[in-house]
C-alpha cells in the first residue's frame, strides 16, 4: 500500500492530478491537502477511541455492565464527551466548508479575465475544437488536440452535439460537462509548457473509453505560429499516389463527412482533416499517428473502434494505399 504514493511520484504526469501545470490544479491540490489533514486528524481520533475501548476491556475481573444492574446509567464523562465531539466535528466541517467556498470563488473570478476563447463541441466519440476570433478569417477548426499559450487565461466554451460528455484534463483543471441544449464553460490558466492528456469523464456510450484529447501548452510565440500555420489550406499532394488519394477523398465517401480546407471536401459530420497528419493520434486517442495505423483505421474503423460513427468503406487495396498516402501529407 505504501508503494502506491511512491509510484505516483515517479511516473509521467500527463494525465494526473499530481500536477502544477495550471492555476486551477494548484488550487485543487492546496485545498485537497487541507481536507486531507483535517480528515486524517478526525480519523485518528476515531481510531484512538476505538483502540482505547478495546484495550480497556482487558481490565481483569470486572463484571459486565448488565450483571451490575447499572446498565441504564450513562457515564457523565461520556456525556460531556459527546458534546465536545459534536462541537469538534461541527467546527471542522465549518472550517472545511469555508475553505471550499473561497477556493470556489477564486476559481470563478479567474474566469472573468479571459484572453482567449475556444469552443469545444463533444461528439460520440471525438472532440471538435474551434478557436474563436473577432476576425472570422482567423477562426480555426481542428479536432482532438488543443494548443494553449502558457500563462494566458483561456475560456473554453463547452457544447455537445449528441449525449452528455465531460471535458477533463486532470493535469490542468477539474471537469465540466458538455450537455446538449446547454452551454457550459471552464477556465484554465496553464503555467507550465508541456503535453497533457485528457479524456471524456461522463459515460457517453460504447466508446467512452476511447474519447481522449491532448492539450499542448507552449510559449505564446509558438502558439501564434501554430495558429497561423493551421489557418493555411491543406497541402497539395505531390506524389502520384497521393494525388490518386486526393481524387478519392475529395470526390467519394470521405468528403460527405470531413472537411479539408482548400479542397472540395466540406462535410461537417466528422473531424476536420486539413492538418490530420500533424495530430498525435487517430480517432481521439485510439491509435498513435503513423502510416500503418492510418491504413488500419481507414481500412476498417469498426474493428479498431467498434461502434464509431465512421463506416467501413469498401476500398480496393490500391485505393486504400492512395488514401493513406494522401492523408499522410496533411501536415
Amino acid at each position: 500500500m505504501l508503494a502506491l504514493p511512491l509510484c505516483a511520484c515517479s511516473i509521467q504526469h500527463y494525465q494526473s492530478t499530481f500536477s502544477d501545470a495550471a492555476v486551477e490544479v494548484r488550487q485543487f491540490n492546496t485545498l485537497f491537502a487541507i481536507f486531507l489533514i483535517v480528515c486524517a486528524v478526525m480519523y485518528s481520533l476515531v481510531i484512538a477511541f476505538l483502540v482505547g475501548g478495546i484495550v480497556r476491556r482487558r481490565r481483569a475481573g470486572e463484571a459486565y455492565v448488565v450483571e451490575t444492574g447499572k446498565h441504564h446509567e450513562t457515564n457523565p464523562l461520556m456525556r460531556i464527551g459527546i458534546m465536545v465531539w459534536g462541537a469538534t466535528v461541527g467546527m471542522g466541517l465549518i472550517a472545511l466548508a469555508i475553505a471550499s467556498f473561497f477556493a470556489d470563488r477564486s476559481m470563478a473570478r479567474a474566469a472573468a479575465n479571459e484572453k482567449l476563447s475556444i469552443t469545444v463541441t463533444a461528439n460520440q466519440w471525438w472532440w471538435d475544437v474551434q478557436y474563436n476570433s473577432a476576425d472570422v478569417s482567423k477562426t480555426l477548426r481542428t479536432a482532438n488536440e488543443i494548443h494553449l499559450p502558457v500563462g494566458v487565461p483561456v475560456r473554453i466554451i463547452l457544447l455537445s452535439n449528441d449525449v452528455i460528455h465531460s471535458f477533463w484534463v486532470p493535469s490542468l483543471a477539474g471537469k465540466q460537462d458538455l450537455i446538449p441544449g446547454r452551454e457550459n464553460d471552464i477556465s484554465i490558466t496553464p503555467t507550465k509548457v508541456g503535453l497533457y492528456r485528457g479524456q471524456c469523464a461522463e459515460y457517453c456510450g460504447t466508446q467512452h473509453a476511447n474519447m481522449a484529447l491532448v492539450v499542448q501548452v507552449e510559449p505564446y510565440g509558438d502558439f501564434l505560429k501554430w495558429w497561423q500555420d493551421s489557418l493555411k489550406p491543406a497541402m497539395k499532394p505531390t506524389t502520384l499516389l497521393a494525388q490518386a488519394g486526393y481524387q478519392y477523398v475529395t470526390t467519394r465517401e470521405c468528403a460527405m463527412c470531413h472537411t479539408i480546407a482548400g479542397t472540395s471536401a466540406g462535410g461537417t459530420v466528422g473531424p476536420d482533416l486539413s492538418h490530420f497528419a500533424s495530430a498525435r493520434s487517430i480517432a481521439a486517442g485510439t491509435l498513435p499517428m503513423n502510416e500503418a495505423n492510418i491504413l488500419r483505421w481507414v481500412d476498417d474503423p469498426q474493428s479498431v473502434k467498434p461502434g464509431t460513427k465512421m463506416p467501413k468503406v469498401p476500398l480496393r487495396p490500391a485505393e486504400l494505399n492512395a488514401v493513406t498516402a494522401y492523408l499522410e501529407t496533411l501536415k
Binding site: L4, P5, C7, I11, Q12, S16, T17, Q27, F28, F32, C39, M42, V46, L50, G53, I54, R57, Y64, V65, E67, H71, H72, T74, N75, M78, G81, I82, G86, V89, L93, L96, A97, S100, A103, M107, A108, V163, I164, P170, G174, K175, D177, I179, P180, R182, N184, R197, Q199, A201, E202, Y203, C204, G205, T206, Q207, H208, A209, N210, P306, G307
Partner: protein
C-alpha cells in the same frame, strides 16, 4: 326486530356473549403444549406447492427475500470479477467495449436494486415482528405481493442478460444517452421496467414495515423503548415512500419518451436532459441512506449485545437516524457539480452534504462510547462491527472531501469516487450485513454458524477489501475515469489496477467462504439455544427457529432491554384468539393495547396479481397497448384479492 325493544337487545347481547364464550383465547386456562398445538394448527400454511406460493408468513417471505438478494449479490459479484479481470492490465482485450458497458450496468443495477435494498427489507420483514413482539406484519398479503414483484423484476433483468439484450446505459441511465435516439432497441426499456418492478416491491415492503412498526408493537413498547433497529427501519421505510415516486416519475417519463414519443428529455422540443438527473438523484441519494441506515441499525444491535450494555445516548442515535433521513433529501445536487448549475446553489449543497457528517459522527461516537463503557466480546459479529468502523469512517471522510465543489470537479466520475462509495456501501453496509447475518443465523435456522470459519472469512474479507478499493483512490487521482473498459499503459495505472484485481478475488473467496459456512452450518451446525448471544431484545425470547405464530402469548415490555431486565419469565398479555389468526394492535406512541386485528389468511391472489402485473409491465416494453390490455387482468386479480368475503371479520376493541 326493533332496536328499541329492550328484550330484543338483551337477547342479542346474550347471543353474542354465548358466541364469545365459544371462542378459544389464550390465557391462564389455555397455555403450554395445548396452546402451542392449537396455535400451530391455526397459523400453519396450507400444505403443498400451492400453499408455498400462497403463504403470508412474514418469516417465510423474509427468508425468501434474503436468499434471493444474496443470490443476486453473488451474480453481481461475478460480474465485478469479470470487470476486474478486464482491467487487470492496460489495453486488455478480455471483454469488448459494448460487453463491458453491459457488465457495469448490470453490476450497479443488480447491487443497488436487487441486492442492497431488498436484503435490508428482507431482514426487516423477518426480524421486525419478532423484535416488536407480534405475530405477523401488517398487510401480510401485500408483503407476499412485494416479494413476487421483486423476484419477477430481477428475473426479467437477468433473463435479458442471458438473451443478450441487457441494458448498457449505466445504473443511472442518463438521458439523452438512454433516450430513443441514442439507445435504439429494447435494452434501455428493460432497465426502466426493472426499476418499475423494484419500486413497486420496495414501496409495498415500506408500507408493510411502517404499519408494523407503528401499530404492531408489544404493549408497553413505547416509541422511546423501541429497539434502534426498528427506528432505523422506520426512518428507511418512510424514506422509501418519499424517494421511490421520484424515480418512478423519471423512469416513467423515459419509458414514455421511448414508447409513445413524448419529449420530456429532448431539448429540441423544449425538454431538458438535466431534468433526468434532478429526478434521478432526488431518489438516488436517499437510496444510499436507504441502504446505509438499516446497517447502522444492525451495528446498534450488535454493539449492544456484544458490549453487554445498551447503546449509549439512545435519543441521540434516534435523532441522528431521523436527521440523516431528512438531510438525505437535500443534497442530490452534489452528484451534479460538473453540470454547470449556478455556483451559489452549489455552496448550499456543499454545506448540506457536509452536514450529514454530524449525525453520522455522533452515531459513531455513541457506538464507541458503548464499547468504552461496556466490555466488548469479540465474537464474529463484533469483528464485523470493528471492521465497519475502521472502513466506513474512511468512506465518510472521503465523502466530506468530494462534497467540496473544487475538489469534486477533479474527482467526480473517477475511480476516487468508485473507492469512496465502495467504502461506504461495502464497509458501511455489507460488513454490518454479514455480521448481522451471522448474528441472526441461529434465530432463523436454529443452528450456529462456525465461529472459526467466520473469523477466517472476516479477516480475508477485511484485508481483501482494503487491497481492492484503497488503490482506487490513487487510480482516480492518477486520472482514471469511471466506466472505461480499458486504459492506456504508461500513466501509472498498472499497479493500482493489478492490486485491485488481486483484492477482488480475495473478497470473492471470503464471500464464498461465508456462503459455504452458512450452508454447512445449516445442515450440521451446533443446535442454537433460544438466546445464544445473551441478547436483550424480544426475538431471543422465542425458540430458534421461531414457531409459525412467533409468540405463545404477546409479551409486555417494561424497558428498552426486556430480556436483560426481566430475570424470570416475561410478563405477557393474554386474550388473543387461538382458533383464528389474530394479532394485537397498539397505539402509535404509547403502545397501549388498541384493537384485536384479524390477520389475513394465506391466499393465491397476491401471487396471481403479481403475475398479472408482471405480464403488464413486461409487455408494455413492446407496445403501448399493453398498458390498456395489461391493466385489465391486473385490476381483476386485485379485485379478487380484495373481494370482501362472507365471513369477513373486523377489528375488535380490546376487552378489559
Amino acid at each position: 326486530m326493533s332496536r328499541d325493544d329492550p328484550k330484543a337487545v338483551e337477547a342479542e347481547n346474550r347471543l353474542l356473549e354465548a358466541e364469545r364464550k365459544k371462542l378459544a383465547r389464550d390465557g391462564p386456562k389455555l397455555r403450554g403444549a395445548k396452546l402451542e398445538a392449537r396455535l400451530e394448527k391455526t397459523w400453519r400454511r396450507p400444505p403443498g406447492f400451492l400453499g408455498w406460493l400462497a403463504t403470508v408468513d412474514h418469516k417465510e417471505i423474509g427468508r425468501r427475500y434474503i436468499i434471493t438478494a444474496l443470490i443476486f449479490l453473488a451474480m453481481g459479484g461475478v460480474l465485478a470479477l469479470i470487470m476486474r479481470l478486464q482491467l487487470a492490465r492496460p489495453d486488455n482485450n478480455l471483454v469488448g467495449a459494448a460487453r463491458y458497458n453491459e457488465l457495469f450496468t448490470m453490476h450497479g443495477s443488480t447491487m443497488m436494486f436487487l441486492f442492497a435494498v431488498p436484503v435490508m427489507e428482507g431482514i426487516a420483514i423477518y426480524i421486525i415482528p419478532l423484535m416488536l413482539g407480534t405475530r405477523s406484519t401488517g398487510f401480510p398479503r401485500l408483503n407476499a405481493y412485494s416479494y413476487y414483484m421483486y423476484l419477477f423484476g430481477g428475473l426479467m433483468l437477468w433473463g435479458a442478460f442471458a438473451l443478450n439484450i441487457a441494458p448498457d446505459i449505466g445504473w443511472f441511465a442518463y438521458t439523452p444517452l438512454s433516450g430513443p435516439q441514442f439507445s435504439p432497441g429494447k435494452r434501455a426499456d428493460i432497465w426502466a421496467q426493472m426499476i418499475t418492478f423494484t419500486e413497486v416491491a420496495a414501496l409495498a415492503a415500506a408500507v408493510v414495515l411502517v404499519a408494523t412498526i407503528l401499530k404492531c408493537r408489544a404493549p408497553g413498547m413505547t416509541l422511546a423503548r423501541m429497539p434502534l433497529f426498528a427506528w432505523a427501519m422506520l426512518v428507511v421505510a418512510v424514506m422509501i415512500i418519499f424517494a421511490m415516486p421520484s424515480v418512478a416519475l423519471c423512469s416513467g417519463m423515459l419509458i414514455s419518451d421511448r414508447l409513445v414519443g413524448t419529449q420530456f428529455y429532448n431539448h429540441f422540443e423544449h425538454g431538458d436532459a438535466l431534468l433526468w438527473q434532478h429526478l434521478f438523484w432526488f431518489f438516488g441519494h436517499p437510496e444510499v441512506y436507504i441502504i446505509f441506515l438499516p446497517a447502522t441499525g444492525f451495528v446498534s444491535v450488535m454493539v449492544e449485545t456484544f458490549c453487554r450494555r445498551p447503546v449509549f445516548a439512545y435519543p441521540v442515535v434516534v435523532l441522528a437516524l431521523i436527521s440523516t433521513g431528512i438531510l438525505a433529501f437535500g443534497l442530490w445536487v452534489h452528484h451534479m457539480f460538473a453540470t454547470g448549475l449556478p455556483r451559489v446553489g452549489y455552496s448550499f449543497y456543499t454545506a448540506a452534504s457536509m452536514t450529514v457528517a454530524i449525525p453520522t459522527g455522533l452515531q459513531i461516537y455513541c457506538w464507541l462510547a458503548t464499547m468504552w463503557d461496556g466490555r466488548p466480546r469479540f465474537q464474529v459479529p463484533m469483528l464485523y462491527v470493528v471492521g465497519f468502523i475502521v472502513t466506513f469512517v474512511i468512506g465518510g471522510l472521503s465523502g466530506v472531501i468530494i462534497a467540496a465543489v473544487p475538489l469534486d470537479l477533479e474527482l467526480h466520475d473517477t475511480y476516487f469516487i468508485v473507492a469512496h462509495f465502495h467504502y461506504v456501501l461495502i464497509g458501511g453496509a455489507v460488513f454490518p450485513l454479514l455480521g448481522i447475518l451471522t448474528y441472526w443465523f441461529p434465530k432463523i435456522t436454529g443452528r450456529m454458524m462456525s465461529a472459526t470459519f467466520g473469523k477466517i472469512g472476516f479477516w480475508i474479507l477485511f484485508v481483501g477489501f482494503q487491497l481492492t478499493f484503497f488503490p482506487m483512490h490513487f487510480a482516480g487521482l492518477l486520472g482514471m475515469p469511471r466506466r472505461v473498459y480499458t486504459y492506456p499503459a504508461g500513466q501509472g495505472l498498472e499497479l493500482p489496477n493489478m492490486l485491485s484485481t488481486i483484492g477482488a478475488f480475495a473478497v470473492a473467496s471470503a464471500v464464498l467462504l461465508f456462503v459455504i459456512n452458512g450452508v454447512v452450518s445449516f445442515f450440521r451446525g451446533a443446535p442454537a439455544p433460544d438466546n445464544p448471544w445473551d441478547a436483550s431484545t424480544l426475538e431471543w425470547s422465542v425458540s430458534s427457529p421461531p414457531p409459525v405464530y412467533n409468540f405463545e402469548h404477546i409479551p409486555v415490555v417494561e424497558s428498552r432491554t426486556p430480556l436483560w431486565d426481566e430475570k424470570g419469565d416475561l410478563p405477557v398479555a393474554t386474550g388473543l384468539r387461538v382458533d383464528d389468526k389474530e394479532m394485537l394492535l397498539t397505539t402509535v406512541v404509547a403502545a397501549t393495547p388498541d384493537l384485536r386485528e384479524p390477520v389475513a389468511e394465506p391466499s393465491m391472489w397476491p401471487f396471481i396479481a403479481s403475475c398479472a402485473t408482471g405480464i403488464f409491465f413486461v409487455s408494455s416494453i413492446f407496445s403501448p397497448w399493453a398498458i390498456v390490455f395489461g391493466a385489465i387482468p391486473t385490476a381483476l386479480a386485485m379485485a379478487a384479492w380484495f373481494w370482501p368475503s362472507e365471513t369477513q371479520r373486523h377489528p375488535e376493541p380490546v376487552i378489559g
